[in-house]
């Protein structure tokens, strides 16, 4: 097996780390929470950073009319299938394909990840803006529009008395490494291809 194909094999396997480690983490800091509230976003579920955190986030957020963070959202069914399919494609081309396919896989992964991030943004936007009209507390922006409570897609942001942090976790690192390794496999494959042409 060619060196580039072995690297491509690694690239296809790395994203499966998403099934072992969380993808993202949202943390909410406030003075009355000496241990900040937090939730991990996995490829197929939400989980508490500390016991009962999601329940407590829900209890707190209902004051402004935010929805209860659901036990499951449709994406949690689609994302794992997507990752498995792309990994299988990656494996197939690692065994069968030439380096040009590696580039294709890389572009596919970039596209899927971008779509995933966009979907995550949409979910966050809906979660932070689509508020219960009977909410106990209503806040407006200085311009009179309804205040949104959307957590940041990436980075930190102040939301009322909370500081919200949103950062990738180990799972995201595995995905990124996998995608990057795909590109590396492509370049190495290309270089070897040129070498073999010259010889």
């Amino acid at each position: 097996m060619k060196k580039s194909n072995i690297i491509m094999l690694l690239a296809a396997i790395l994203p499966l780390g998403l099934f072992l480690f969380p993808l993202w983490k949202i943390t909410l800091e406030a003075p009355q929470y000496p241990i900040p509230l937090g939730m991990y976003i996995h490829i197929n579920d939400f989980s508490d950073a500390n016991p009962h955190d999601i329940k407590n986030i829900n209890l707190m957020n209902h004051y402004v009319g935010m929805k209860y963070i659901p036990d499951a959202i449709p994406e949690f069914k689609i994302f794992p299938i997507g990752i498995i399919i792309t990994s299988v494609i990656g494996l197939l081309i690692a065994f069968k394909g030439n380096y040009k396919w590696f580039l294709g896989w890389f572009i596919l992964m970039i596209a899927i990840s971008a779509a995933g991030m966009y979907d995550f943004y949409l979910w966050e936007h809906d979660y932070g803006h689509n508020l219960d009209p009977k909410a106990i507390m209503k806040f407006t922006n200085p311009d009179g529009t309804q205040m949104g409570f959307q957590p940041p897609l990436f980075g930190s942001r102040d939301i009322l008395n909370f500081k919200a942090h949103s950062y990738p976790q180990l799972g995201a690192l595995f995905l990124t490494l996998g995608i990057a390794t795909g590109l590396i496999a492509y370049f190495i494959g290309k270089k070897n291809h040129k070498k073999s042409l010259l010889m």
Binding site: H52, K55, N56, L59, Y63, K134, I136
Partner: protein
Amino acid sequence: MKNLLKLTLALVFVLFTYTSCNNSKSSDNKSGALASNVAEKVYVAPGEHDEFYAFISGGYSGNLTVYGLPSGRMFKEIPVFSQFATSGYGYSEETKPMLNTSHGFIPWGDSHHPDISQTKGEIDGRFVFINENNTPRIAKIDLKTFETTEIIEVPNSAGNHSSSFVTENTEYVVAGTRFSVPIPQRDMPINEYKGNFQGALSFISVAPETGNMDIKFQVLMPGFNYDLSHPGRGKSHGWFFFTTYNTEEASSLLEVNASQNDKDFIAAVNWKKIEDYVNNGGGTMMPADYAHNVYDEHTHTATSTMKKEVRVVNPVDVPGAVFFLPTPKSPHGCDVDPSGEYIVGNGKLSANLTVHSFTKMLAAIEGEKFDGEAYGIPILKFEDVLAGSVEQPGLGPLHTEFDGQGNAYTTFFISSEVVKWKLGTWEVIDRKPTYYSVGHLTIPGGNSGKPQGKYMFAMNKITKDRYLPTGPEMEHSAQLYDISGEKMELLLDFPTHGEPHYAAAMRADLIKERSQKIYNLEDNKHPYAAFTDDDTKVVRKGNEVHIYMTTIRSHFSPDNIEGVKVGDKVYFHVTNLEQDFDVPHGFAVLGQNTSELLIMPGQTKSSVWEPTKVGVWPFYCTDFCSALHQEMQGYIRVSPADSNTPIKWSLGEDIE
């Protein structure tokens, strides 16, 4: 190159300032203006934790208070033997059984000596045990939750005073009687006390894993007063020592009649020997009535079981198990040093402090050098067991604690002072006044093989001018001393609640690593718990109405209840659905003649309400729980006794 030079210079300058700053700090400890600044030594900055936690008995409040050291701040009052409106302890259906005794429900107690559980002679931070003096009981408080989880009544005992001290692996909690009484209790002339009354020393076993208590045996001693006690440790592990007074066996005007003998005794009890005897079937089962109350942390409910018999041992039947050590003159405190060698008997009417030697005691027993006997129990010769005495250290010695560095600290009630002296040389090192009339004193890790030193605090019986002299009733006070140096230094005065009888203290980190923040709803096995709003219901059983209710920020479910009638017995079973640290909810209903309920996250508590008047009565949350706490309320409709109003309950129906 120039830059490099500048950088080096800057670095040197920074290092210099840093180290010189350090130097000035360390020299401040010894001299200069800050040396006298004791405020700094007790200051605990906002957000910082105290280094030690002290559990101070409330005396006649029947409770136990928790204080931080060195700040002297009170953190909590733990209800133990008394009803406590703050949390509903002793009022709620779940905790009422905790105060059950063979004399019925007793809503008050007189708590005295807390002691922390030990493993291998060191404080382990699992439980605090404390005695109730008046209606003899021993309680166990779980340091995971700071809740009283077990209370056992002690039969055949009266004035449960020489209690509750634990052996070095918490094999036993010991409860000696202060008053001797007829055993079994009976109707007899009081002036026939002598020879007819007996004193029970109870050995309560503690199960190693669960901490469950059980009276393993009682030693029925001659009719003296057994005043205080301490376990042997290290080399003397397996023995227990009890001071006695009234060896005269007087029953009237004891201040005179019990002060006649030049020497009373310290009773040395080899409990291991008696344990072996009992394990081999020794002793006899005697009919007795006593309550054993256990709080189950899963059902959040206490049960009270009446026990019917207790095993008693006549010390004469176990030769070599009990001896008397003559000790001058009505000794009060009985304290054993960390090595287990020295037994300090503070003769409260004696000018000197008497210290016995465990090694000498064993030798005297070996040589059978007895000075007669009392009711068949051998009396050792005073000179044979004496290790030494501290000559005229003060007036009215009471109690002694040790710092683990070979020093002892004794309180003097009459001369209001603490005296530091050296074990072995018996010389006085230092003395400091207390304000005023000091009783007990505590060093963290006291009554263990490894005292944690650093601080000592004295618990005084009089406050007088320490706070505004407005009274007549004032809180008592405690005084904190730094004992890390050769001389003691008074750091702080702080008020205590009830009578600060005695205290046990320990390093706070031991508690911190064990502490529980919430009750997990999944672990809640309360028979009347409701886990969601869908579980809530109202059930009538004859004239009992059971309301399965939930609370969450910021509503009760249900919040409208109808169908209750005058003469009904209404049980509110309230489950707090919160799972966030420190979000309790309260519950109270108008006209309730118990107390409110304070329900911790994940907990279920029940309160009985017996409505006497027709009407629509409000109930509300008594603990400020959230931004919408004021809105956390509901109504219960009470119809006439003969009405046909159907049972109905709802939440949130009138909106939409």
